[in-house]
């Protein structure tokens, strides 16, 4: 119990710090490293709440594919890969707005009643059965979104388009 609370606190601090660092460091390549650590810490959360399938999915899709895709985007769009970003000022309005959102949501989170159930694991086969029978329409819709997205991405990057 104490050990799990400790793991939760360490992962929470890691997630918040790496997310903030990813958005504040000046080199884009360092940003990619920080955001990869952020994704890995979220996968750690999923393992902590007994959802290993989603943890592996998070590691494979985010820490693997999305990170490499972002790195590829950095590589092809700049001449010197470790060039510094121009410093952008942190205006008071964005900081105030995001702090307001955090305060409002954290207040709302503290008022919800205690959980009536405990964290437990469910079998992956039950999840896949639900995903392909009960919620099959969602997967179908996801496929219908992905297909035009793929076609649109190919259309945007193809050579000789005028």
């Amino acid at each position: 119990m104490i050990l799990e609370l400790l793991a939760f606190l360490v992962l929470a601090v890691t997630a918040a710090v790496t997310a903030l660092a990813a958005l504040l460091v000046r080199e884009l390549v360092h940003t990619i490293v920080w955001v990869a650590l952020f994704f890995v810490s979220l996968a750690g959360f999923y393992f902590l709440v007994s959802a290993p399938f989603l943890g592996v999915l998070q590691l494979g899709v985010y820490a693997g594919a999305v990170t490499i895709l972002l790195l590829f985007g950095v590589m092809v769009t700049r001449k010197r890969i470790f060039a510094h970003e121009a410093a952008t000022g942190l205006g008071p309005a964005p900081v105030a707005l995001s702090l307001l959102i955090v305060v409002v949501l954290a207040t709302a989170a503290s008022t919800i009643p205690a959980a009536t159930s405990q964290i437990h694991s469910y079998s992956v086969s039950a999840l896949s059965t639900a995903l392909f029978n009960q919620y099959g329409a969602w997967l179908l819709l996801l496929g219908l979104v992905m297909l035009p997205a793929l076609a649109g991405a190919i259309y945007l990057v193809r050579e000789g388009r005028e």
């Binding site: 918040a16 958005l23 959360f45 989603l54 989170a109």
Partner: protein, 107 residues
Amino acid sequence: MTDLPLAGFLALSAVLLGIGIFGILTRRNFILLLIAIEVAINSAILNFVVFGAYWGGVPGYGLEGPSVAVVLIGLAATEVAVGLAIVLALNRLRGSINVAEATVLKL
């Protein structure tokens, strides 16, 4: 099995959403903007996974939480792919991926 506080997860999710919105509002680089959006989406996915871990499979509740999480992970990955296609097109046409300079919608 374990009894971690539900409010702790929700507060962390609120903090991550705040960080994501802060990044969306302040960053001018398209790739950083995509990363900020990813941070915000991941805070939502964390909520679905945590609620699914508490109530998923309990009699009277289904497995909506993890199912939505799987669909959302796929959707967010699609969004990154389209975003990077726009980054490449923007870089070829303007020579820069600063969103403040992309004032014409036609790529």
